[in-house]
Chain length 377, copies 2
């Protein structure tokens, strides 16, 4: 093992929660980790310095969006996503599978891949396991995801089984297409909807292929938190303990706390940046809608425990004003705040596991949330 190897170390466990460290070519990732989403090679309304300042250690970008605009070959000529956008840390790219499946009647699936029309200009494109893997190579992803079919929810057992098995065939093709480099890795994605037997079969197939990490896919697609946690309860115990586990597209803060308790190491979600753009702020005491009139005269910070610029330098009244006046600075500040909150949350989780106090941490998290926002002055 060199310093530049792609290597996951499980440092500690605390109940089901895991504390880990993932070494990559582009930096070390302490887990559990939340990865801000930079869909089009920018974490929306934030500079890369802003992203670093929140404590983020890895970001995500989307193959689907980047292959359409500016185009994978163009990104490659510009040195990859990381160089193009000035992000020095590790980058994870999704495979494009989730987005093309969401295109509805704009896409057609066959045994070898998916043909689809661009949502931008209607032009025709095709993604296959080979092409998705090649594109992620061109994007210079530190972590490449397998191209799979995200099984819709709900799905009957036989539909979910067929979908999962197609994804497992594709996972093999993705692995064959993956050009490994020191410190880079590829993750397979466990499918099988809410059916434990299918999840078990999927895990077995993926571990036979042997990836550097494993994601749990097909959740957070409408099944609800209870079903998601139930699926994790029967899924993560079957997964290798010595590899990182990534729950794709999750989630709300309480989703993350619950999933960490069930053995998940990595998360991504558009929620903090998307909510930031609509005036929704995450705080330890729950969500605050800064556009609400109750904040119009409130000189207090959004969250007095938060170290971000929105909280240390501005009043709720000013943030409220920025959103009412539709000023870009409002989006900028709330995006920074929300990503800071997610990083603060995952840092707290890591510290708690380090100290063997994850259960206490989780209890306090729920109790503080239950308080609700501070009362009006």
């Amino acid at each position: 093992m060199t310093d530049n190897s792609f290597q996951f170390s499980l440092l500690k466990t605390d109940g089901g929660a895991r504390r880990g460290r993932l070494n990559t070519a582009h930096g070390v990732i302490e887990t559990p980790v939340f990865m801000p989403v930079g869909t089009a090679a920018t974490v929306k309304a934030m500079t890369v310095d802003d992203v670093w300042a929140t404590g983020a250690m890895i970001i995500l970008a989307n193959t689907y969006h980047l292959m359409l605009r500016p185009g994978a070959e163009r990104v490659e000529r510009l040195g990859g996503v990381r160089r193009m956008m000035g992000w020095d840390g590790p980058l994870l790219t999704d495979s494009g599978g989730f987005q093309v499946m969401s295109l509805g009647n704009l896409r057609k699936i066959d045994a070898d891949g998916v043909t689809f029309k661009s949502h931008i200009d209607g032009s025709s494109h095709r993604l296959t396991p080979q092409r998705s893997t090649d594109i992620q190579h061109m994007l210079d992803a530190t972590i490449t995801m397998a191209f799979d079919e995200c099984t819709p929810f709900p799905a009957e057992h036989d539909v979910a089984a067929a979908s999962m098995r197609l994804s497992m065939d594709w996972a093999e093709r993705c692995r064959d297409a993956f050009v490994n480099r020191d410190g880079y890795g590829q993750f397979g994605i466990v499918q099988g909807s809410v059916y434990p037997d299918l999840r078990a079969e999927s895990i077995k197939r993926l571990e036979q292929i042997d990836f550097e990490g494993y994601a749990v896919g097909g959740l957070a697609v409408g099944e609800g938190q209870e079903a998601m946690f139930a699926t994790l309860d029967t899924t993560t115990p079957l997964m290798r303990a010595d590899k990182p586990r990534y729950l794709m597209g999750v989630g709300k803060p309480d989703d993350i706390v619950g999933a960490v308790a069930r053995g998940i190491d990595m998360f991504d979600c558009v929620l903090p940046t998307r909510s930031g753009r609509t005036g929704q702020a995450f705080t330890p005491r729950g969500t605050v809608n800064i556009k609400n009139a109750r904040h119009a005269d409130d000189p207090r910070p959004l969250d007095e425990s938060c170290a971000c610029p929105a909280c240390t330098r501005y009043s709720r009244a000013y943030l409220h004003h920025l959103f009412k006046a539709e000023e870009v600075l409002g989006l900028m500040l709330l995006s920074r705040h929300n990503i800071t909150y997610y990083q603060h949350l995952t840092r707290g989780i890591r510290d708690a596991i380090d100290n063997g106090q994850f259960a206490d941490f989780a209890n306090q998290f729920y109790e503080t949330r239950a308080l609700g926002d501070i009362p009006p002055l």
Copy 2:
């Protein structure tokens, strides 16, 4: 004179160009100076740190916008515009006059002021010399502007004369209403359209009232650069040399160079931030439309001589991508670039005057502009 006094020092002249220094309660302003516009108590798409980093020494905010939203009394409760928005430097507020005059049939003018309907919710409001001055006090403006009627262009001589004389009556009322504090000042505004005799009369009236500074108003309203410069040629020589001169709402880079040559010290304009939001970038070689397809694959910086983050860290191709994808980061970066360019331009002007080389500077400015953008690769 204390350190905290409002004091203009004329340090040097070079032809018609003047190098000055304006001491205020909130910091020193080296002139000629460009003041970024923060209409609604935010320089659009920039943090105050971003604004400082460009070299800006003073910003402007708009009485009209702030009195409607969030409201002058509310801003006062939050400690004034500077404290509310976290800007530690000097602040100039306009009087609201220009904006309410632009409301067309939503406003009604009388001898004592203007009654108008809000563009936001149609509610009825009134601005008078007293009220405008009071509001600017509540906003905690370092520099308060007199409330005047911005004479439309074109205007016949008798119309322009009546309008100017109304503004001069109002200027007296504004001066009476002004509550002076150490290091704060109030500027009168010279009107009179393009008529030298009216401008001369206006200057005489204002100097009898005696302000801390004088603005030239009623220009950059459609008369064109030639008429604007011709008006300055007959106006600034009549103005007191020992007070700062502010050309309101100007302008393009070549407007600024030409107006400095004609003895103007202070400028403001929405152009750099507004253009930044539409993909127009100012460079020494003229304006670049970053949305143009020629930039899509260009790995070179927007302006290799510029020290802003957009130029030091990103390619034209990435900036082009951000604008095509309508990403907020594009607006953020180009706004910073354009304000940086304006500050770089005015710093160059100041250095040139310091060295007695303003004419050479202006020649080189025009020659470089004439080169046009760098050729495609």
